[in-house]
Protein backbone atom coordinates (compact mmCIF):
# COMPACT_ATOMS: atom_id res chain seq x y z
CA UNK A 1 0.00 0.00 0.00
CA UNK A 2 2.77 2.42 1.00
CA UNK A 3 4.74 1.66 -2.15
CA UNK A 4 1.61 2.23 -4.21
CA UNK A 5 1.07 5.68 -2.70
CA UNK A 6 4.72 6.62 -3.16
CA UNK A 7 4.65 5.53 -6.80
CA UNK A 8 1.48 7.45 -7.42
CA UNK A 9 2.90 10.56 -5.77
CA UNK A 10 6.05 10.27 -7.85
CA UNK A 11 4.03 9.96 -11.03
CA UNK A 12 2.09 13.08 -9.98
CA UNK A 13 5.28 15.06 -9.46
CA UNK A 14 6.55 14.03 -12.88
CA UNK A 15 3.23 15.03 -14.44
CA UNK A 16 3.34 18.47 -12.81
CA UNK A 17 6.90 18.97 -13.98
CA UNK A 18 6.10 17.97 -17.57
CA UNK A 19 2.91 20.07 -17.62
CA UNK A 20 4.68 23.17 -16.35
CA UNK A 21 7.57 22.63 -18.73
CA UNK A 22 5.13 22.38 -21.62
CA UNK A 23 3.55 25.65 -20.54
CA UNK A 24 6.94 27.33 -20.23
CA UNK A 25 8.21 26.09 -23.59
CA UNK A 26 4.87 26.88 -25.25
CA UNK A 27 4.89 30.42 -23.90
CA UNK A 28 8.60 30.95 -24.58
CA UNK A 29 8.15 30.04 -28.24
CA UNK A 30 4.74 31.61 -28.80
CA UNK A 31 5.25 35.01 -27.18
CA UNK A 32 6.84 38.00 -28.86
CA UNK A 33 8.40 39.85 -25.93
CA UNK A 34 10.12 42.41 -28.15
CA UNK A 35 6.78 43.79 -29.38
CA UNK A 36 6.02 45.43 -26.06
CA UNK A 37 9.18 47.53 -26.30
CA UNK A 38 9.05 48.25 -30.02
CA UNK A 39 5.40 49.29 -30.02
CA UNK A 40 6.02 52.00 -27.46
CA UNK A 41 6.10 55.51 -28.79
CA UNK A 42 8.96 56.34 -29.02
CA UNK A 43 10.34 52.76 -29.16
CA UNK A 44 12.57 51.70 -26.29
CA UNK A 45 16.28 51.92 -27.19
CA UNK A 46 17.69 48.52 -28.14
CA UNK A 47 20.25 48.55 -25.31
CA UNK A 48 17.58 49.06 -22.67
CA UNK A 49 15.29 46.50 -24.32
CA UNK A 50 17.91 43.76 -24.40
CA UNK A 51 19.02 44.58 -20.89
CA UNK A 52 15.47 44.19 -19.59
CA UNK A 53 14.82 41.08 -21.67
CA UNK A 54 17.97 39.44 -20.34
CA UNK A 55 17.02 40.48 -16.83
CA UNK A 56 13.66 38.73 -17.31
CA UNK A 57 15.30 35.76 -19.06
CA UNK A 58 12.91 36.41 -21.97
CA UNK A 59 15.42 37.37 -24.66
CA UNK A 60 14.02 35.69 -27.79
CA UNK A 61 17.45 35.78 -29.47
CA UNK A 62 18.71 33.20 -26.96
CA UNK A 63 17.86 29.54 -27.66
CA UNK A 64 14.64 28.42 -25.96
CA UNK A 65 16.31 25.52 -24.21
CA UNK A 66 18.95 27.78 -22.72
CA UNK A 67 16.24 30.03 -21.27
CA UNK A 68 14.35 26.98 -20.06
CA UNK A 69 17.43 25.55 -18.31
CA UNK A 70 18.03 28.92 -16.65
CA UNK A 71 14.42 29.02 -15.49
CA UNK A 72 14.45 25.45 -14.12
CA UNK A 73 17.66 26.24 -12.28
CA UNK A 74 16.06 29.33 -10.77
CA UNK A 75 12.89 27.48 -9.75
CA UNK A 76 14.96 24.76 -8.11
CA UNK A 77 16.48 27.48 -5.96
CA UNK A 78 13.13 29.10 -5.24
CA UNK A 79 13.60 31.97 -7.71
CA UNK A 80 10.69 32.29 -10.13
CA UNK A 81 12.16 35.21 -12.07
CA UNK A 82 10.73 38.64 -12.81
CA UNK A 83 7.46 39.88 -14.23
CA UNK A 84 7.16 42.15 -17.26
CA UNK A 85 7.26 45.09 -14.89
CA UNK A 86 10.57 43.75 -13.47
CA UNK A 87 8.90 42.87 -10.14
CA UNK A 88 9.67 39.64 -8.39
CA UNK A 89 7.22 36.95 -9.56
CA UNK A 90 7.09 35.45 -6.07
CA UNK A 91 6.07 38.79 -4.55
CA UNK A 92 3.43 39.39 -7.19
CA UNK A 93 2.12 35.88 -6.69
CA UNK A 94 1.79 36.22 -2.94
CA UNK A 95 -0.33 39.36 -3.45
CA UNK A 96 -2.52 38.04 -6.28
CA UNK A 97 -3.21 34.67 -4.75
CA UNK A 98 -4.82 36.28 -1.70
CA UNK A 99 -7.06 38.42 -3.88
CA UNK A 100 -8.27 35.23 -5.56
CA UNK A 101 -8.67 33.45 -2.22
CA UNK A 102 -10.81 36.31 -0.89
CA UNK A 103 -12.89 36.19 -4.07
CA UNK A 104 -13.40 32.44 -4.26
CA UNK A 105 -13.63 31.13 -0.68
CA UNK A 106 -17.13 32.37 0.13
CA UNK A 107 -18.43 31.26 -3.25
CA UNK A 108 -16.92 27.80 -2.85
CA UNK A 109 -18.50 27.21 0.56
CA UNK A 110 -21.89 28.61 -0.43
CA UNK A 111 -22.07 26.59 -3.62
CA UNK A 112 -21.09 23.30 -1.97
CA UNK A 113 -23.64 23.66 0.85
CA UNK A 114 -26.41 25.02 -1.35
CA UNK A 115 -25.79 22.53 -4.15
CA UNK A 116 -25.96 19.51 -1.86
CA UNK A 117 -29.01 20.78 0.02
CA UNK A 118 -30.91 21.71 -3.13
CA UNK A 119 -30.05 18.42 -4.82
CA UNK A 120 -31.21 16.39 -1.83
CA UNK A 121 -34.38 18.46 -1.56
CA UNK A 122 -35.11 17.82 -5.25
CA UNK A 123 -34.60 14.08 -4.87
CA UNK A 124 -36.91 13.87 -1.86
CA UNK A 125 -39.59 15.75 -3.77
CA UNK A 126 -38.93 14.07 -7.12
CA UNK A 127 -41.28 15.05 -9.98
CA UNK A 128 -42.98 17.65 -7.79
CA UNK A 129 -43.26 21.18 -9.15
CA UNK A 130 -40.20 22.35 -7.21
CA UNK A 131 -38.10 19.56 -8.73
CA UNK A 132 -39.12 20.48 -12.26
CA UNK A 133 -38.63 24.19 -11.64
CA UNK A 134 -35.12 23.72 -10.22
CA UNK A 135 -34.15 21.32 -13.01
CA UNK A 136 -35.31 23.82 -15.60
CA UNK A 137 -33.43 26.59 -13.82
CA UNK A 138 -30.23 24.60 -13.81
CA UNK A 139 -30.61 23.94 -17.53
CA UNK A 140 -30.71 27.68 -18.08
CA UNK A 141 -27.68 28.20 -15.83
CA UNK A 142 -25.75 25.43 -17.59
CA UNK A 143 -26.35 27.23 -20.86
CA UNK A 144 -25.04 30.49 -19.42
CA UNK A 145 -21.23 30.70 -19.42
CA UNK A 146 -19.63 33.05 -16.89
CA UNK A 147 -18.84 35.58 -19.58
CA UNK A 148 -22.57 35.92 -20.17
CA UNK A 149 -23.64 35.65 -16.53
CA UNK A 150 -21.16 38.17 -15.12
CA UNK A 151 -22.02 41.08 -17.46
CA UNK A 152 -25.70 40.18 -17.02
CA UNK A 153 -25.36 40.56 -13.24
CA UNK A 154 -23.69 43.92 -13.85
CA UNK A 155 -26.60 44.95 -16.07
CA UNK A 156 -29.13 43.98 -13.40
CA UNK A 157 -27.10 45.76 -10.71
CA UNK A 158 -27.10 48.99 -12.70
CA UNK A 159 -30.86 48.83 -13.17
CA UNK A 160 -31.37 48.07 -9.46
CA UNK A 161 -29.13 50.97 -8.48
CA UNK A 162 -31.10 53.23 -10.77
CA UNK A 163 -34.40 52.09 -9.31
CA UNK A 164 -33.19 52.58 -5.71
CA UNK A 165 -31.51 55.90 -6.40
CA UNK A 166 -29.46 57.64 -3.71
CA UNK A 167 -25.98 59.10 -3.79
CA UNK A 168 -23.86 55.98 -3.46
CA UNK A 169 -24.90 53.03 -5.62
CA UNK A 170 -26.39 50.18 -3.59
CA UNK A 171 -24.74 47.32 -5.48
CA UNK A 172 -21.02 47.60 -6.22
CA UNK A 173 -19.47 45.83 -9.18
CA UNK A 174 -15.93 47.18 -9.56
CA UNK A 175 -12.95 46.14 -7.45
CA UNK A 176 -12.61 44.72 -3.98
CA UNK A 177 -13.40 47.58 -1.63
CA UNK A 178 -14.45 51.20 -1.75
CA UNK A 179 -11.28 53.23 -0.97
CA UNK A 180 -13.44 55.77 0.91
CA UNK A 181 -14.88 53.19 3.28
CA UNK A 182 -13.92 53.97 6.87
CA UNK A 183 -14.12 52.14 10.17
CA UNK A 184 -14.24 48.40 10.70
CA UNK A 185 -17.94 48.00 9.95
CA UNK A 186 -17.83 50.37 7.01
CA UNK A 187 -14.99 48.44 5.42
CA UNK A 188 -16.60 45.10 6.17
CA UNK A 189 -19.83 46.22 4.58
CA UNK A 190 -18.00 47.59 1.57
CA UNK A 191 -16.15 44.31 1.12
CA UNK A 192 -19.32 42.25 1.39
CA UNK A 193 -21.06 44.58 -1.03
CA UNK A 194 -18.26 44.24 -3.58
CA UNK A 195 -18.20 40.47 -3.08
CA UNK A 196 -21.92 39.93 -3.67
CA UNK A 197 -22.11 39.94 -7.48
CA UNK A 198 -18.83 38.06 -8.16
CA UNK A 199 -19.91 35.42 -5.66
CA UNK A 200 -23.22 34.94 -7.44
CA UNK A 201 -21.45 34.73 -10.79
CA UNK A 202 -19.05 32.07 -9.46
CA UNK A 203 -21.52 30.00 -7.47
CA UNK A 204 -24.63 29.75 -9.66
CA UNK A 205 -22.99 27.37 -12.12
CA UNK A 206 -21.43 25.29 -9.35
CA UNK A 207 -24.73 25.07 -7.45
CA UNK A 208 -26.51 23.84 -10.57
CA UNK A 209 -23.73 21.32 -11.22
CA UNK A 210 -23.57 19.94 -7.67
CA UNK A 211 -27.32 19.82 -7.14
CA UNK A 212 -27.89 17.88 -10.33
CA UNK A 213 -25.31 15.32 -9.34
CA UNK A 214 -26.50 15.13 -5.74
CA UNK A 215 -30.07 14.64 -6.95
CA UNK A 216 -29.04 11.62 -9.03
CA UNK A 217 -27.04 10.08 -6.18
CA UNK A 218 -29.79 10.78 -3.67
CA UNK A 219 -32.43 9.10 -5.85
CA UNK A 220 -30.34 5.92 -5.87
CA UNK A 221 -30.00 6.05 -2.09
CA UNK A 222 -33.64 6.85 -1.33
CA UNK A 223 -34.85 3.51 -2.64
CA UNK A 224 -32.27 1.53 -0.69
CA UNK A 225 -32.96 -1.06 1.99
CA UNK A 226 -30.84 0.51 4.71
CA UNK A 227 -32.93 3.65 4.61
CA UNK A 228 -36.09 1.59 5.03
CA UNK A 229 -34.43 -0.23 7.93
CA UNK A 230 -33.57 3.07 9.58
CA UNK A 231 -37.22 4.12 9.28
CA UNK A 232 -38.42 0.75 10.54
CA UNK A 233 -36.23 1.11 13.59
CA UNK A 234 -38.11 4.25 14.45
CA UNK A 235 -36.06 7.12 13.04
CA UNK A 236 -38.19 10.01 11.86
CA UNK A 237 -38.25 10.56 8.11
CA UNK A 238 -36.17 13.73 8.16
CA UNK A 239 -33.56 12.25 10.53
CA UNK A 240 -33.30 9.09 8.48
CA UNK A 241 -32.82 11.07 5.30
CA UNK A 242 -30.26 13.40 6.84
CA UNK A 243 -28.21 10.87 8.80
CA UNK A 244 -28.36 7.90 6.44
CA UNK A 245 -29.48 9.29 3.09
CA UNK A 246 -27.58 12.53 2.55
CA UNK A 247 -24.42 11.24 4.20
CA UNK A 248 -24.28 8.26 1.86
CA UNK A 249 -25.24 10.18 -1.25
CA UNK A 250 -22.76 12.96 -0.58
CA UNK A 251 -19.67 10.69 -0.79
CA UNK A 252 -19.35 10.57 -4.60
CA UNK A 253 -20.44 14.20 -4.82
CA UNK A 254 -17.62 15.30 -2.53
CA UNK A 255 -15.05 14.22 -5.13
CA UNK A 256 -16.71 16.56 -7.57
CA UNK A 257 -16.92 19.34 -4.99
CA UNK A 258 -13.23 19.04 -4.09
CA UNK A 259 -12.14 19.14 -7.71
CA UNK A 260 -14.40 22.01 -8.72
CA UNK A 261 -13.62 24.06 -5.62
CA UNK A 262 -9.89 23.79 -6.07
CA UNK A 263 -10.09 24.44 -9.78
CA UNK A 264 -12.15 27.58 -9.16
CA UNK A 265 -9.08 29.12 -7.55
CA UNK A 266 -7.35 28.96 -10.89
CA UNK A 267 -10.41 29.43 -13.06
CA UNK A 268 -11.92 32.71 -11.97
CA UNK A 269 -10.40 34.53 -14.96
CA UNK A 270 -13.64 35.93 -16.36
CA UNK A 271 -15.14 36.89 -13.01
CA UNK A 272 -11.95 38.71 -12.04
CA UNK A 273 -11.85 40.51 -15.37
CA UNK A 274 -15.48 41.60 -15.41
CA UNK A 275 -15.60 42.73 -11.78
CA UNK A 276 -12.11 44.23 -11.73
CA UNK A 277 -10.37 42.03 -9.13
CA UNK A 278 -6.58 41.83 -9.54
CA UNK A 279 -6.21 38.14 -8.75
CA UNK A 280 -4.41 35.32 -10.50
CA UNK A 281 -6.78 35.30 -13.48
CA UNK A 282 -6.29 38.97 -14.31
CA UNK A 283 -2.58 38.57 -13.80
CA UNK A 284 -2.52 35.66 -16.24
CA UNK A 285 -4.28 37.55 -19.04
CA UNK A 286 -2.16 40.66 -18.42
CA UNK A 287 1.00 38.56 -18.48
CA UNK A 288 0.00 36.95 -21.78
CA UNK A 289 -0.75 40.32 -23.29
CA UNK A 290 2.72 41.52 -22.23
CA UNK A 291 4.52 38.32 -23.31
CA UNK A 292 5.63 37.59 -19.76
CA UNK A 293 6.74 33.95 -19.71
CA UNK A 294 7.75 33.78 -16.03
CA UNK A 295 4.36 34.87 -14.68
CA UNK A 296 2.48 32.58 -17.06
CA UNK A 297 4.64 29.63 -16.05
CA UNK A 298 4.17 30.16 -12.32
CA UNK A 299 0.38 30.38 -12.62
CA UNK A 300 0.30 27.21 -14.72
CA UNK A 301 2.50 25.50 -12.14
CA UNK A 302 0.13 26.64 -9.42
CA UNK A 303 -2.96 25.28 -11.15
CA UNK A 304 -1.27 21.98 -12.07
CA UNK A 305 -0.34 21.55 -8.41
CA UNK A 306 -3.93 22.38 -7.46
CA UNK A 307 -5.27 19.65 -9.74
CA UNK A 308 -3.04 17.13 -8.01
CA UNK A 309 -3.92 18.37 -4.53
CA UNK A 310 -7.56 18.04 -5.53
CA UNK A 311 -6.98 14.46 -6.60
CA UNK A 312 -5.34 13.51 -3.34
CA UNK A 313 -7.70 15.53 -1.17
CA UNK A 314 -10.75 13.91 -2.72
CA UNK A 315 -9.30 10.50 -1.84
CA UNK A 316 -8.85 11.61 1.75
CA UNK A 317 -12.33 13.10 1.99
CA UNK A 318 -13.87 9.94 0.56
CA UNK A 319 -11.98 7.92 3.17
CA UNK A 320 -13.20 10.21 5.94
CA UNK A 321 -16.84 10.09 4.85
CA UNK A 322 -17.09 6.49 3.75
CA UNK A 323 -16.73 4.06 6.64
CA UNK A 324 -15.98 1.23 4.21
CA UNK A 325 -12.77 2.87 3.00
CA UNK A 326 -9.75 2.66 5.28
CA UNK A 327 -6.63 4.61 4.47
Amino acid sequence: MGAFIVRRLLNYVVLVFVATSLAYLGAATAFHPKDMYLQKNPPTPAVVMYHELNERNDNPDKPVLERYAHWVDGVAHGDFGQTWQLDSVSKHFSISVWVTVRLVTVAAVISAVAGILIGSFQAVRQYKFSDHAITFGSYIIFAMPVFVLAPLLKLVAVQVNKAVGGNTPLLQYQGEIDPDATGFWGQLFSRADHLLLPTISLSLGLIAFYSRYQRGQMLDVLGSDFLRTARAKGLSKSRAILKHGVRTAVIPVMTLVTYSTILTFAGAIITERVFGWNGLGSWFTDATNHSDVNSVAVITLFSAVLVLIAGMLSDVITALLDPRVRL
Binding site: A143, P145, P151, G216, D220, T300
Partner: protein, 306 residues
Protein backbone atom coordinates in the same frame (compact mmCIF):
# COMPACT_ATOMS: atom_id res chain seq x y z
CA UNK B 1 -16.92 7.74 -37.67
CA UNK B 2 -19.24 8.37 -34.77
CA UNK B 3 -22.42 8.00 -36.78
CA UNK B 4 -23.20 4.31 -37.09
CA UNK B 5 -24.11 3.11 -40.56
CA UNK B 6 -27.05 0.82 -41.18
CA UNK B 7 -24.77 -2.22 -41.09
CA UNK B 8 -23.22 -1.14 -37.82
CA UNK B 9 -26.47 -0.58 -36.04
CA UNK B 10 -27.38 -4.21 -36.46
CA UNK B 11 -24.32 -5.44 -34.65
CA UNK B 12 -25.19 -3.19 -31.73
CA UNK B 13 -27.48 -5.93 -30.44
CA UNK B 14 -25.58 -9.06 -31.33
CA UNK B 15 -27.91 -11.23 -29.27
CA UNK B 16 -31.22 -9.73 -30.37
CA UNK B 17 -33.41 -11.81 -32.63
CA UNK B 18 -32.69 -10.44 -36.11
CA UNK B 19 -34.25 -6.97 -35.83
CA UNK B 20 -35.65 -5.19 -38.83
CA UNK B 21 -33.10 -3.16 -40.74
CA UNK B 22 -32.08 -0.05 -38.75
CA UNK B 23 -34.48 -1.25 -36.06
CA UNK B 24 -32.43 0.31 -33.32
CA UNK B 25 -32.27 3.67 -35.05
CA UNK B 26 -36.04 3.70 -35.33
CA UNK B 27 -36.40 2.73 -31.68
CA UNK B 28 -34.02 5.44 -30.53
CA UNK B 29 -35.77 8.00 -32.69
CA UNK B 30 -39.15 6.99 -31.23
CA UNK B 31 -37.81 7.37 -27.68
CA UNK B 32 -36.15 10.66 -28.57
CA UNK B 33 -39.34 12.02 -30.09
CA UNK B 34 -41.29 11.25 -26.93
CA UNK B 35 -38.98 13.57 -24.96
CA UNK B 36 -40.45 17.05 -25.14
CA UNK B 37 -37.31 18.91 -24.17
CA UNK B 38 -35.21 16.98 -26.66
CA UNK B 39 -37.60 17.83 -29.49
CA UNK B 40 -37.63 21.48 -28.47
CA UNK B 41 -33.85 21.38 -28.57
CA UNK B 42 -33.74 19.75 -31.98
CA UNK B 43 -36.25 22.11 -33.57
CA UNK B 44 -34.58 25.05 -31.85
CA UNK B 45 -31.14 24.12 -33.11
CA UNK B 46 -32.41 23.66 -36.68
CA UNK B 47 -34.03 27.09 -36.48
CA UNK B 48 -30.82 28.61 -35.08
CA UNK B 49 -28.82 27.08 -37.92
CA UNK B 50 -31.27 28.48 -40.46
CA UNK B 51 -31.09 31.84 -38.71
CA UNK B 52 -27.29 31.81 -38.79
CA UNK B 53 -26.99 30.95 -42.47
CA UNK B 54 -30.09 32.68 -43.89
CA UNK B 55 -29.94 35.66 -41.53
CA UNK B 56 -27.46 37.60 -43.70
CA UNK B 57 -30.14 37.72 -46.41
CA UNK B 58 -32.40 39.75 -44.12
CA UNK B 59 -30.08 42.71 -43.89
CA UNK B 60 -28.00 44.63 -46.39
CA UNK B 61 -25.30 45.31 -43.77
CA UNK B 62 -22.21 43.14 -43.64
CA UNK B 63 -20.34 42.52 -40.38
CA UNK B 64 -17.48 44.81 -41.40
CA UNK B 65 -19.68 47.68 -42.63
CA UNK B 66 -19.66 50.87 -40.61
CA UNK B 67 -22.72 53.10 -40.52
CA UNK B 68 -21.20 56.46 -39.69
CA UNK B 69 -24.57 58.20 -39.52
CA UNK B 70 -26.13 55.82 -37.02
CA UNK B 71 -23.57 55.04 -34.33
CA UNK B 72 -24.99 53.71 -31.07
CA UNK B 73 -28.44 53.46 -32.54
CA UNK B 74 -31.08 51.39 -30.79
CA UNK B 75 -32.79 48.42 -32.41
CA UNK B 76 -34.51 49.86 -35.51
CA UNK B 77 -36.01 48.55 -38.75
CA UNK B 78 -32.64 49.06 -40.42
CA UNK B 79 -30.38 47.84 -37.59
CA UNK B 80 -32.35 45.04 -35.94
CA UNK B 81 -29.99 44.67 -32.96
CA UNK B 82 -28.73 48.27 -32.97
CA UNK B 83 -25.20 49.50 -33.68
CA UNK B 84 -22.15 49.91 -31.44
CA UNK B 85 -20.16 53.08 -30.89
CA UNK B 86 -18.21 52.59 -34.12
CA UNK B 87 -21.33 51.96 -36.21
CA UNK B 88 -21.08 48.21 -36.69
CA UNK B 89 -24.45 46.59 -37.35
CA UNK B 90 -24.84 44.22 -34.41
CA UNK B 91 -27.33 41.98 -36.22
CA UNK B 92 -24.90 41.30 -39.07
CA UNK B 93 -22.12 40.74 -36.54
CA UNK B 94 -24.18 38.38 -34.39
CA UNK B 95 -25.30 36.30 -37.37
CA UNK B 96 -21.79 36.08 -38.75
CA UNK B 97 -20.46 35.21 -35.31
CA UNK B 98 -23.08 32.47 -34.98
CA UNK B 99 -21.89 30.90 -38.23
CA UNK B 100 -18.31 30.73 -37.03
CA UNK B 101 -19.24 29.50 -33.56
CA UNK B 102 -21.50 26.75 -34.93
CA UNK B 103 -18.93 25.57 -37.46
CA UNK B 104 -16.17 25.57 -34.87
CA UNK B 105 -18.39 23.74 -32.38
CA UNK B 106 -19.27 20.98 -34.86
CA UNK B 107 -15.74 20.51 -36.14
CA UNK B 108 -14.14 20.48 -32.69
CA UNK B 109 -16.68 17.97 -31.42
CA UNK B 110 -16.10 15.75 -34.44
CA UNK B 111 -12.35 15.90 -33.99
CA UNK B 112 -12.20 15.50 -30.23
CA UNK B 113 -14.84 12.78 -29.93
CA UNK B 114 -13.33 11.00 -32.92
CA UNK B 115 -9.82 10.99 -31.54
CA UNK B 116 -11.07 10.13 -28.05
CA UNK B 117 -12.86 7.09 -29.50
CA UNK B 118 -9.79 6.10 -31.47
CA UNK B 119 -7.29 6.52 -28.62
CA UNK B 120 -9.56 5.03 -25.96
CA UNK B 121 -10.37 1.89 -27.93
CA UNK B 122 -6.79 1.47 -29.14
CA UNK B 123 -5.42 1.80 -25.59
CA UNK B 124 -7.79 -0.79 -24.19
CA UNK B 125 -7.75 -3.19 -27.13
CA UNK B 126 -4.02 -3.38 -27.78
CA UNK B 127 -2.88 -3.06 -24.19
CA UNK B 128 0.85 -3.13 -23.45
CA UNK B 129 2.91 -0.10 -24.38
CA UNK B 130 0.11 1.46 -26.38
CA UNK B 131 -2.02 1.55 -23.29
CA UNK B 132 0.76 2.87 -21.04
CA UNK B 133 1.58 5.73 -23.40
CA UNK B 134 -2.02 6.73 -24.07
CA UNK B 135 -3.04 6.58 -20.41
CA UNK B 136 -0.04 8.67 -19.44
CA UNK B 137 -0.83 11.22 -22.16
CA UNK B 138 -4.43 11.35 -20.95
CA UNK B 139 -3.27 12.00 -17.39
CA UNK B 140 -0.83 14.65 -18.58
CA UNK B 141 -3.45 16.53 -20.57
CA UNK B 142 -5.79 16.38 -17.59
CA UNK B 143 -3.16 18.01 -15.40
CA UNK B 144 -2.28 20.69 -17.96
CA UNK B 145 -4.81 23.48 -17.39
CA UNK B 146 -6.39 23.49 -20.84
CA UNK B 147 -7.83 27.02 -20.91
CA UNK B 148 -4.55 28.50 -19.68
CA UNK B 149 -2.66 26.48 -22.28
CA UNK B 150 -4.96 27.71 -25.06
CA UNK B 151 -4.36 31.29 -23.95
CA UNK B 152 -0.58 30.71 -23.82
CA UNK B 153 -0.56 29.29 -27.34
CA UNK B 154 -2.86 31.99 -28.72
CA UNK B 155 -0.04 34.06 -30.31
CA UNK B 156 0.52 31.09 -32.63
CA UNK B 157 -2.85 31.47 -34.27
CA UNK B 158 -2.87 35.24 -34.23
CA UNK B 159 -2.21 35.70 -37.92
CA UNK B 160 -3.55 32.34 -39.06
CA UNK B 161 -6.99 31.44 -40.31
CA UNK B 162 -9.71 31.20 -37.66
CA UNK B 163 -10.01 27.49 -38.45
CA UNK B 164 -6.75 26.92 -36.56
CA UNK B 165 -8.83 27.20 -33.39
CA UNK B 166 -10.50 23.87 -34.25
CA UNK B 167 -7.50 21.55 -33.76
CA UNK B 168 -6.27 23.70 -30.88
CA UNK B 169 -9.49 23.39 -28.87
CA UNK B 170 -9.87 19.72 -29.82
CA UNK B 171 -6.34 19.02 -28.56
CA UNK B 172 -7.44 19.97 -25.05
CA UNK B 173 -10.87 18.36 -24.92
CA UNK B 174 -10.56 14.64 -25.66
CA UNK B 175 -9.25 13.29 -22.37
CA UNK B 176 -12.34 12.52 -20.31
CA UNK B 177 -14.17 10.80 -23.17
CA UNK B 178 -11.08 8.80 -23.99
CA UNK B 179 -10.95 7.58 -20.39
CA UNK B 180 -14.59 6.52 -20.42
CA UNK B 181 -14.18 4.83 -23.81
CA UNK B 182 -11.14 2.93 -22.56
CA UNK B 183 -13.06 1.69 -19.55
CA UNK B 184 -15.93 0.48 -21.69
CA UNK B 185 -13.66 -1.15 -24.25
CA UNK B 186 -11.86 -3.09 -21.52
CA UNK B 187 -15.08 -4.94 -20.71
CA UNK B 188 -16.26 -5.34 -24.31
CA UNK B 189 -12.88 -6.77 -25.30
CA UNK B 190 -13.52 -9.81 -23.13
CA UNK B 191 -17.01 -10.49 -24.52
CA UNK B 192 -17.55 -13.69 -26.51
CA UNK B 193 -18.29 -12.15 -29.89
CA UNK B 194 -15.09 -10.12 -29.80
CA UNK B 195 -13.07 -13.16 -28.83
CA UNK B 196 -14.72 -15.20 -31.53
CA UNK B 197 -13.79 -12.59 -34.11
CA UNK B 198 -10.24 -12.48 -32.82
CA UNK B 199 -9.80 -16.24 -33.00
CA UNK B 200 -11.24 -16.22 -36.51
CA UNK B 201 -8.34 -14.00 -37.47
CA UNK B 202 -10.20 -10.76 -38.08
CA UNK B 203 -7.67 -7.88 -38.13
CA UNK B 204 -7.58 -5.74 -34.98
CA UNK B 205 -8.76 -2.50 -36.57
CA UNK B 206 -11.66 -4.31 -38.25
CA UNK B 207 -12.73 -5.68 -34.86
CA UNK B 208 -12.53 -2.20 -33.37
CA UNK B 209 -14.50 -0.71 -36.22
CA UNK B 210 -17.10 -3.45 -36.54
CA UNK B 211 -17.57 -4.75 -33.00
CA UNK B 212 -16.27 -2.28 -30.48
CA UNK B 213 -17.17 1.14 -31.87
CA UNK B 214 -20.85 0.18 -32.45
CA UNK B 215 -21.07 -1.00 -28.86
CA UNK B 216 -19.84 2.28 -27.48
CA UNK B 217 -21.62 4.36 -30.10
CA UNK B 218 -24.18 5.61 -27.60
CA UNK B 219 -21.57 7.28 -25.41
CA UNK B 220 -19.80 8.66 -28.47
CA UNK B 221 -22.98 10.16 -29.89
CA UNK B 222 -23.99 11.75 -26.59
CA UNK B 223 -20.47 12.98 -26.04
CA UNK B 224 -20.31 14.45 -29.51
CA UNK B 225 -23.48 16.44 -28.88
CA UNK B 226 -22.35 17.78 -25.52
CA UNK B 227 -18.90 18.54 -26.94
CA UNK B 228 -20.47 20.82 -29.53
CA UNK B 229 -21.79 23.00 -26.73
CA UNK B 230 -18.56 22.82 -24.75
CA UNK B 231 -16.48 23.75 -27.80
CA UNK B 232 -18.68 26.75 -28.57
CA UNK B 233 -18.26 27.92 -24.97
CA UNK B 234 -14.48 27.44 -25.08
CA UNK B 235 -14.18 29.30 -28.36
CA UNK B 236 -16.34 32.16 -27.09
CA UNK B 237 -14.37 32.22 -23.83
CA UNK B 238 -11.12 32.68 -25.73
CA UNK B 239 -12.59 35.25 -28.09
CA UNK B 240 -14.20 37.09 -25.18
CA UNK B 241 -10.80 37.55 -23.56
CA UNK B 242 -9.30 38.55 -26.91
CA UNK B 243 -7.26 35.39 -27.40
CA UNK B 244 -9.46 33.61 -29.91
CA UNK B 245 -10.95 34.98 -33.09
CA UNK B 246 -9.78 38.51 -33.86
CA UNK B 247 -10.89 41.35 -36.08
CA UNK B 248 -11.89 41.49 -38.89
CA UNK B 249 -13.36 38.06 -38.14
CA UNK B 250 -16.12 37.92 -35.56
CA UNK B 251 -17.43 35.10 -33.40
CA UNK B 252 -20.12 35.11 -30.74
CA UNK B 253 -17.38 35.60 -28.16
CA UNK B 254 -16.06 38.80 -29.72
CA UNK B 255 -19.57 40.16 -30.27
CA UNK B 256 -20.52 39.39 -26.65
CA UNK B 257 -17.28 41.01 -25.48
CA UNK B 258 -18.08 44.16 -27.49
CA UNK B 259 -21.58 44.13 -26.07
CA UNK B 260 -20.42 43.48 -22.50
CA UNK B 261 -18.79 46.93 -22.41
CA UNK B 262 -22.28 48.33 -22.79
CA UNK B 263 -23.92 46.04 -20.21
CA UNK B 264 -23.75 48.73 -17.54
CA UNK B 265 -25.00 51.50 -19.86
CA UNK B 266 -28.28 52.36 -21.55
CA UNK B 267 -27.19 50.38 -24.62
CA UNK B 268 -27.48 47.09 -22.71
CA UNK B 269 -29.31 45.49 -25.67
CA UNK B 270 -25.93 45.38 -27.48
CA UNK B 271 -25.01 42.73 -24.93
CA UNK B 272 -28.36 41.04 -24.46
CA UNK B 273 -29.00 40.05 -28.11
CA UNK B 274 -25.77 38.17 -28.89
CA UNK B 275 -25.65 36.74 -25.36
CA UNK B 276 -29.14 35.26 -25.64
CA UNK B 277 -28.26 33.73 -29.01
CA UNK B 278 -25.33 31.93 -27.37
CA UNK B 279 -27.44 30.81 -24.42
CA UNK B 280 -30.11 29.47 -26.80
CA UNK B 281 -27.57 27.49 -28.82
CA UNK B 282 -26.10 25.82 -25.75
CA UNK B 283 -29.53 25.21 -24.24
CA UNK B 284 -30.69 23.43 -27.40
CA UNK B 285 -27.49 21.38 -27.68
CA UNK B 286 -27.78 20.28 -24.04
CA UNK B 287 -31.45 19.35 -24.46
CA UNK B 288 -30.56 17.22 -27.48
CA UNK B 289 -27.63 15.62 -25.66
CA UNK B 290 -29.72 14.66 -22.65
CA UNK B 291 -32.55 13.44 -24.86
CA UNK B 292 -30.13 11.30 -26.85
CA UNK B 293 -28.67 9.85 -23.69
CA UNK B 294 -32.09 8.85 -22.40
CA UNK B 295 -33.09 7.48 -25.81
CA UNK B 296 -29.89 5.49 -26.31
CA UNK B 297 -29.63 4.18 -22.78
CA UNK B 298 -32.99 3.88 -21.03
CA UNK B 299 -31.31 2.76 -17.80
CA UNK B 300 -29.35 5.96 -17.35
CA UNK B 301 -30.60 8.45 -14.83
CA UNK B 302 -29.61 11.90 -15.97
CA UNK B 303 -26.59 13.22 -14.12
CA UNK B 304 -25.27 10.00 -12.65
CA UNK B 305 -24.73 8.56 -16.10
CA UNK B 306 -21.98 11.03 -16.88
Amino acid sequence: MTAPTAADTESVQPFAAAPARSGRAALVWRRFRRNKFAMVGLVGLVLLFLFAFLGPLLTHWSPTDIDLVNTQSGPTGDHFFGTDDVGHDMFAQTVSGMQKSLIIGLLVALLSTGSAGLLGTAAAYFGGWWEKVIVWLTDLFLVVPSLLMLIILSPYFQGASWLVLVPMIALFSWMITSRVVRGMTLTIREREFVRAARYMGVPAWTIIRRHIIPNISSILIVDFTLNVGAAIVTESFLSFLGFGIRTPNVSLGTVINDGAQFASTDQWYLFVFPASVLVLIILCVNFIGDGLRDALDPNSTGASAR
